[in-house]
């Protein structure tokens, strides 16, 4: 055989050529050439399908083991749904706690407003009675009450805003819950797939060239289950 010398590729000695290639090159007519070419291609395909089949079998075993671990541990069937339920409970409890705090702020806020208004009214009345010791004392107390009521309003406002932690943590818990649900579905699908594969375990791949066609079908069927 002469290699393409224009590319500078080295020439191979005829003895180094594979038997099937020698057979192909030695074909005396178009019919035997086609036959030799088909045989060559079949051998190459067989090697490829054999490798793919081996890969598919290994993947199948790995999936089976993983699914078995998942089933044994009850991860998809019990642990994940239980974890999601608990997360939901935590969210619900945090929501109740935040609402309970808001109940308190809503109840006290109008009280603080009323105290501030009443203290303001009393301060004005006491100012009109300047010199009366009792009025002076009452005026001072009213001033303290007004300052206290104002501080209460500010504090209650801060308490109200602080409850936004529930919204922010709740959003994160929702995201985690969503992720867990997706993971659960994937694991259940894996278990289902492994079960399906276990019921139709791949037949052994024949090593003889004559069995190539059936092996290819078997490999194709197996690969189809993996979405090939």
């Amino acid at each position: 055989m002469r290699m393409d010398t224009t590319t500078g590729a080295p020439q191979l000695p005829a003895a180094a050529l594979p038997a099937e290639l020698k057979e192909l090159l030695g074909a005396s007519d178009p019919g035997s050439f086609e036959q030799a070419l088909d045989a060559l291609i079949r051998r190459r395909e067989h090697a490829l399908f054999h490798a793919l089949g081996k890969l598919a079998r290994e993947l199948h075993e790995a999936v089976k083991h993983l699914a078995s671990d998942v089933e044994t541990g009850g991860l998809a069937a019990q642990a994940l749904p239980e974890a999601r339920r608990r997360l939901g409970e935590a969210m619900s409890m945090s929501e109740q706690a935040a609402h309970a705090s808001l109940d308190v702020t809503e109840r006290l806020m109008p009280e603080a407003v009323r105290l501030e208004e009443a203290a303001g009214t009393l301060m004005m009345r006491c100012d009109g009675l300047a010199g009366d010791p009792l009025a002076d004392d009452a005026g001072a107390l009213a001033r303290q009450a007004a300052i206290f009521a104002d501080a209460c309003r500010e504090g209650l406002r801060e308490m109200t805003v602080a409850q936004s932690w529930q919204d922010l943590t709740g959003q994160r818990m929702q995201q985690i819950g969503g992720f867990m649900e997706r993971a659960e579905h994937v694991l259940l699908e894996l278990v289902r797939l492994a079960g399906a594969l276990a019921g139709t375990s791949p037949p052994p791949i024949a090593a003889t060239p004559g069995a190539t066609a059936s092996t290819q079908d078997q490999v194709d069927r197996l690969l189809a289950e993996f979405g090939f």
Binding site: H99, M109, V161, S164, D167, Q171
Partner: protein
């Protein structure tokens, strides 16, 4: 002034409602997502919307787009109060005509300042 507060978390709706009441706004209604809010806006003669971004069903940004696309609502002021704070999201909200953007967690002072700024701009524009 009639205000609609839109958030999927009842806690946050209550917080915003309380703060708005503290600031003197008494007529406040609530919706838990954009899909609930939109028909309310179409029939309710609201003057202002405070909305979250991330909600199931219809999100806050989708609600904003729907408001701007509706001839009867397109001038309605919208304040977004959200934990979503990426540059792209803020730009998207701005490009769709949001009137104000508050990032959670926020303070009562921030809410007051943003509201005042929105009303100032609206008064200048009209």
């Amino acid at each position: 002034m009639k205000i609609l507060v839109v958030d999927d978390f009842s806690t946050m709706r209550r917080i915003i409602k309380n703060l708005l009441q503290e600031l003197g706004f008494g007529n406040i209604q609530e919706a838990d997502d954009g899909a609930t809010a939109l028909p309310m806006l179409k029939s309710g003669q609201f003057d202002f919307v405070v909305t979250d971004w991330n909600m199931p069903g219809m999100t806050g940004i989708a609600l904003l787009k729907a408001i701007r696309a509706e001839p009867a609502l397109k001038a309605l002021p919208v304040l977004m109060v959200t934990a979503e704070n990426t540059r792209e999201q803020i730009i998207e909200a701005a490009q769709n005509g949001v009137n104000g953007y508050i990032v959670k967690p926020f303070t009562a002072v921030t809410l007051k300042e943003k509201l005042e700024k929105i009303f100032e701009r609206l008064a200048t524009a009209s």
